[in-house]
Symmetry: C2
Subunit: 333 residues, 2 copies
Amino acid sequence: MTIAQPYLLFLADAPHAKTAFGVRHWRPEACAAQFRYPGSALDLALPEMTPAQAAAAGVRTLLIGAAPAGGMLPERWIADLVAALRAGMDIASGLHARLTDVPELVAEAKAAGRRLHDVRHPTESFTIGGFERRPGKRLITVGADCAVGKMYTALAIERELRARAVAADFRATGQTGILIVGSGISVDAVISDFVAAAAASLSPAAAPDHWDVVEGQGSLFHPAYAGVTLGLLHGSQPDAMVLCADPSRTTLGDFDAYPQPDLAECVTRYTDCARLTNPDARVVGVSLNTSAFSAAAAEALIAQTADRLGLPCVDPVRTGVAAIVDRLDLSGG
Amino acid sequence: MTIAQPYLLFLADAPHAKTAFGVRHWRPEACAAQFRYPGSALDLALPEMTPAQAAAAGVRTLLIGAAPAGGMLPERWIADLVAALRAGMDIASGLHARLTDVPELVAEAKAAGRRLHDVRHPTESFTIGGFERRPGKRLITVGADCAVGKMYTALAIERELRARAVAADFRATGQTGILIVGSGISVDAVISDFVAAAAASLSPAAAPDHWDVVEGQGSLFHPAYAGVTLGLLHGSQPDAMVLCADPSRTTLGDFDAYPQPDLAECVTRYTDCARLTNPDARVVGVSLNTSAFSAAAAEALIAQTADRLGLPCVDPVRTGVAAIVDRLDLSGG
């Protein structure tokens, strides 16, 4: 799935726009304009354009980067989406509700020769491969829990690598990441038999000094999603893993009955599991989301964690990720 | 997915009928008749009936228990499948090719008010649950590799438990098992996000002394399928695991580049992973497929394995599974 950029970020009258803000932050060059309805409280500090104006200015895709209440596609948005198609733009959406379930959009897209991208719903087929080692280097972010900063950390590492003139590509595995970079696979929506194969296809053979930075999903310690995590880990055959955690939590974010795992146990389990497909796999650092703590408390937590685990520890927002990237072998060896 | 029994086992002109022979072996009471084309070399030692005769005799479902070359549904079978629908029977198939992709069958089934069961292709939706501990006891067969006897071992344990007057149900997770017992979920065809939830729904809360015997899938040591295995393990929250292996293999059956894992490492990894959702989980025995060995060599292998791992070891075909069932806590405590 490859989505043509640049984007018109469609905010409409939505109360939140996490995806749009993510695209704006990580790929400003992909963001040409925004389209808000009167009264919108959101602002991405981009030029205001209607779909017709955006198309005339060379914009390729209207991106639904805002979540309406309930996740359904509001009827009142349809006319503007149709206008975008007629003006020559594709539409991309990260909503659960499918664009392709709206007959009017399907008909208009067909008539206009445009594409509808439902990035939560993969349409590709995957072939089970041989899982032999592929050339190129791979890093994956892994979690003690869900929603602990795996996407953010991976994007920060991609940015840091590129700043050091290292060839690096973020590989998106969830809807927000896919919309940010314009390609990827929602691995949790793939038929379970093909998750590892899909992950393998996402970071194909590359030059020896190229780094793929794969967005991890879920957690090996989450009762509902660990299978997705493991399939993604095996298919990605990472050389390096960065463990992401939220030290303010004592239980899983969405399952109170389950405790947060110990970080040392996470390092061991992820390493044991990853070595099935890459015997050189190791955890190279820890990324904490310390937003719930004061600056002083966060600094102490980061130092303690680094000391206890013997690994560089960062908060990508507070400290950046240079301390982790310093530890990667960037020689292509 | 619940399939009405008894069955007419449809062999037609297929060269192999692994599923039909499995149903005949494990659920003889569900097998009313067979239907062969002239020249068939297969024989299930059942009465011969056409679809019309079978329906008149009270048969509920025509079961496609034979695999045609290529896995596609042969055009020459369609007329007999239509006859079965018109005579009042459902049709169940474990083929990759879907009955519901054949417009003629869909139309005839609708007209006759009958059902088409494509057991490889789940149609249910699953809800992510709380993964709290459920009452009742659960055993799952787990593998060092794929195709090492997990279904056979689970069915043998169900039979042994029932022979001891213990309430027990085999829970099928693959197409052959589903056709044998008439219900289940092909977990490897479920969207990856929902595998653990699907597995949880397959062995619901039960009486404290009831045993669900869950058919395992794949292996934690298989690079392509470990994610399915882990999701199934977590959703099943097993009290007991039986480790299945084929000691004649040195590499994975379908991936020469991967070695067979050490059985002691399997015991450790499966236990570590299963304890996430059931802290009492433990491996209670080992089931070897020793069909490649002489009786004397098999006996020695079984004894050595039991001694080395400190666990009862069986070959379900040669020795039965009583030695493992002896070690289960059947008190309901």
